[in-house]
């Protein structure tokens, strides 16, 4: 164990700091451009320097650097310290691009990856349906090949951001006679296609990113399939454990915890700052212990990846540990704001760090439930830990179809 960086990495860090000093915030005429343009321009320069989209080849708009997770981590640390724009965390950049790199055709990569990385092509994820949540592979939205076009009929739900998206990557049942998992294909659908109708759903915070999408004889070019017919399930699973998911996950939590401590200093209990209250101190210190587990768990997985080792059961725990802790943070915040919880939640946040006001913490409390559900509910995460990590028997699925493989949650 040695928590220092070698001289080679320290010199790389200085190089990154020098770049940030010169390029963020933007200078001269560039500084007057609107914010999205400034961010896009900075991302482009940072990519040219080899700092962003490192695993993506230059011909697709990445910087094509050799894998080096320690360098990636240094970039992440310094960019976030400088509050400089990092890689887009959109569903397109985070989920579709790695999927296309692994499973897409050359034409698909060339057409979709560069504009997605530039933020010009916005994607939504068409996975969940009303009857297919945790049991995602039971989707019913159908696609039938008619000449050189797929004809899609069905209904997707919880489709975050669909109302503002250009394209959807979508799981569709194209082989009704094959097994549950083997009957699914992965299609890319233009959201402006005739027959698509998007409705928004109001969330408990009163924001409206959630959508539902209805398909009524929507026609999609046959070549918009990623992988072969019936391979959609495997395509969608290909990038779930992508390396990027293993780093940087505790930064936001640390910031949130610090905001919680600040809140405890600000609000009062019995006429004194709440942070002086023994009960509040105990709860804060207990949460601090959990936050520390997540921070050092992050260091540990980072090292495992850097050493080329396969992470063990601990890597399966990152998400549930994180959501559990996030929930503890917002629960204590709720107690600290006291009757402030009678106000309506802020509808725009997941960011108590930005203003720390009551409405924002309440929004955080509600959002922490959403974070716990997205990408697999807490109970599904427990199944994954129990089955893959501890080797406990799988639940028997009652709907595997003719030749379904085992369920992978």
């Amino acid at each position: 164990m040695d928590l220092r960086y070698t001289p080679e990495y320290e010199s790389f860090r200085r190089e990154v700091l020098g770049f940030l000093r010169d390029h963020w915030p933007l200078r001269g005429a560039d500084a007057a451009r609107p914010q999205p343009e400034r961010e896009a321009l900075f991302r482009q320069r940072a990519t040219e320097r080899g700092y962003l989209y490192r695993s993506i080849p230059t011909k697709y708009g990445g910087s094509g650097q050799p894998p080096d997770i320690l360098r990636s981590n240094i970039i992440l640390e310094e960019f976030s310290r400088a509050e400089a724009p990092g890689e887009l965390s959109s569903q397109g950049a985070a989920m579709l691009v790695p999927t296309l790199l692994e499973k897409g055709s050359d034409a698909q990569k060339a057409e979709y990856i560069p504009p997605t990385l530039r933020g010009e092509l916005v994607w939504c994820q068409g996975y969940s349906e009303q009857g297919a949540g945790s049991d995602l592979a039971s989707i019913q939205t159908r696609g039938e090949l008619d000449g050189d076009e797929w004809v899609i009929n069905g209904h997707k739900i919880w489709t975050s951001g669909a109302h503002e998206s250009d394209m959807m990557f979508c799981l569709v049942r194209t082989e009704p006679d094959a097994g549950k998992h083997a009957g699914i294909s992965y299609l890319l659908i233009d959201m402006k296609s005739p027959g698509i109708r998007v409705g928004t759903l109001m969330q408990m915070t009163r924001s409206e990113e959630f959508c539902e999408v209805f398909f009524d004889d929507v026609r999609v070019p046959a070549e918009n399939i990623v992988g072969k017919r019936g391979e959609g399930w495997a395509v969608s699973r290909a990038t779930l454990m992508h390396e990027r998911n293993l780093i940087g996950s505790s930064d936001r939590m640390r910031a949130n915890f610090q905001a919680l401590v600040d809140l405890a200093r600000k609000v009062e209990r019995n006429g004194r700052p709440a942070i002086e209250d023994p009960h509040v101190r105990q709860r804060l210190a207990a949460i601090q212990g959990y936050v520390a587990t997540q921070v050092y768990l992050g260091h540990r997985t980072l090292t495992a990846v850097a050493r080329g080792e396969l992470p063990g059961i601990e890597a399966l725990m990152i998400k549930l540990n994180s959501t559990n802790i996030g929930h503890q943070i917002s629960k204590l915040a709720l107690d600290l704001i006291g009757d402030g919880a009678l106000e309506a939640p802020s509808s725009v946040v997941y960011s108590p760090v930005d203003d720390g006001e009551h409405a924002s913490w309440l929004g955080d409390y509600m959002w922490s439930l959403g974070i716990a559900t997205a990408g697999g509910t807490a109970n599904i995460q427990r199944n994954i830990i129990a089955e893959r990590g501890l080797g406990l028997p799988r639940e028997r699925a009652a709907n595997l179809g003719p030749q379904g493989p085992t369920d992978t949650g």
Binding site: M1, D2, L3, R4, Y5, T6, Y9, L70, N73, V261, A264, I275, P278, R281, Q282, L284, A285, A286, Q288, G289, Y290, A292, T293, Q294, Y296, L297, H299, R300, L302, T303, A304, A306, R307, I313, E314, M317, L320, N321, N324, N379, Q381, R382, N383, I385, A386, E387, G389, L390, G391, L392, P393, E395
Partner: protein, 357 residues
């Protein structure tokens, strides 16, 4: 930047694990547990032979010259096996002498302790949760000591005591001095039994530097290490049980309620491994953090251990409540780890203060 174990550290754990399997399997553990003493010559001799007794002692004094992380890794494995031994008190006494002793004291005491030929222990608490050096009342004057210390482990086999003094100093007392009376406590944890020890006007030598805080931090880390090992062992026991025990015609591990409880148990303990590594590493390398993170690790891990012990009994059902079932041995170790050197609440409050709150 490398936050992981070295090959040597993995090998150390493998070696100790092999030793536990051979020298302290469950039947042997039970014999000691139900016997009249928690001291076993074979176990102590084996630990000494592997160099564990002198792991932290510098090579110049015949030790292995390793670091707190190495010792914590060994203690973790011994905790998994619930191995009875005087190692905890012995290791803390060596920390006291290595960090607090003058050259002459080190030369005199350390070689025999490193080699395991002599056993040392620490006498710190004074009962009623007086574990903090602020609360100690032991009186030392002109080379004589009078004190009543409580929950002293391995007092019956110790050759040397390191005693916490009023005002926060530490002193050495040879066990053959006259004026020492040892009153055995009927201990819950029969793998680490303790005693009340009275020192009445006994000859005592002060350690040169007051390092009670370092001894406490070392103790907090080693208790946390024991909790990590023991907690995971309980998860393993519960898993084995869930994979074999049948009810309603199925293995109970197929029931989601049981699966989820096991997942939660593992989730409580495994992420804390990295916290323990950091606390042990900080003890030797990161002074600014070491005190706070040791307090945090003890509070966090020993609470997790105790909760996992409860959950394990629940998964076992009726049999889990019996003396015959091994789980209670670990449950009582969890209670020891929680209470010795102060309960988690005490260290959370310290951690809060040390965090500047």
């Amino acid at each position: 930047m490398d936050f992981g174990l070295s090959e040597e550290q993995r090998l150390l754990q493998e070696t100790v694990r092999g030793f536990v399997t051979n020298e302290c399997p469950l039947p042997r553990l039970r014999e000691i547990y139900d016997g009249t003493s928690d001291f076993d010559d074979g176990i102590w001799g084996g630990l000494a032979e592997m160099g564990v007794a002198g792991l932290l002692v510098p090579e110049a004094y015949g030790g292995a010259g390793l670091e707190m992380l190495d010792l914590a890794l060994a203690i973790e494995v011994l905790g998994a096996g619930a191995v009875p031994s005087p190692l905890l008190g012995h290791a803390l006494a060596t920390v006291a002498i290595v960090e607090g002793g003058n050259a002459e004291q080190k030369e005199r005491a350390l070689p025999a302790l490193a080699e395991g030929g002599r056993i040392a222990t620490v006498a710190l608490g004074e009962g009623n949760d007086r574990w903090s050096s602020d609360h100690w009342t032991a009186e030392w004057a002109d080379g004589r000591l009078t004190a009543a210390k409580h929950y002293v482990t391995s007092a019956d086999v110790a050759d040397l005591f390191v005693i916490g003094l009023g005002g926060g100093g530490l002193a050495l007392v040879e066990s053959n001095a006259s004026g020492i009376e040892i009153e055995a406590v009927d201990s819950a944890d029969r793998t680490r039994r303790s005693s009340r020890v009275h020192f009445r006007d006994v000859p005592a030598e002060r350690l040169e530097r007051p390092v009670a805080g370092r001894v406490r931090d070392a103790g907090l880390i080693l208790l946390a290490a024991d909790a990590l090992g023991g907690g995971w062992q309980l998860v393993q026991f519960a898993l084995e049980h869930a994979k074999t025990r049948q009810q309603f015609g199925r293995k109970i591990g197929e029931f989601q309620a049981v699966k989820h409880q096991l997942a939660d148990m593992a989730l409580e303990i495994e992420p804390a491994r990295a916290l323990l590594w950091y606390a042990a590493h900080a003890f030797d390398h990161i002074q600014t953090d070491s005190e706070q993170v040791a307090a945090m690790a003890k509070a966090h891990l020993t609470d997790r251990y105790a909760q996992i012990a409860r959950d394990t009994v629940e998964i076992y059902g009726g049999i889990g409540l019996t003396w015959e079932c091994e789980v209670h041995i670990w449950l009582k170790r969890a209670l020891f780890d929680r209470a010795w050197l102060g309960i988690p609440d005490v260290h959370r409050e310290r951690s809060a203060q040390l965090s500047g709150w």
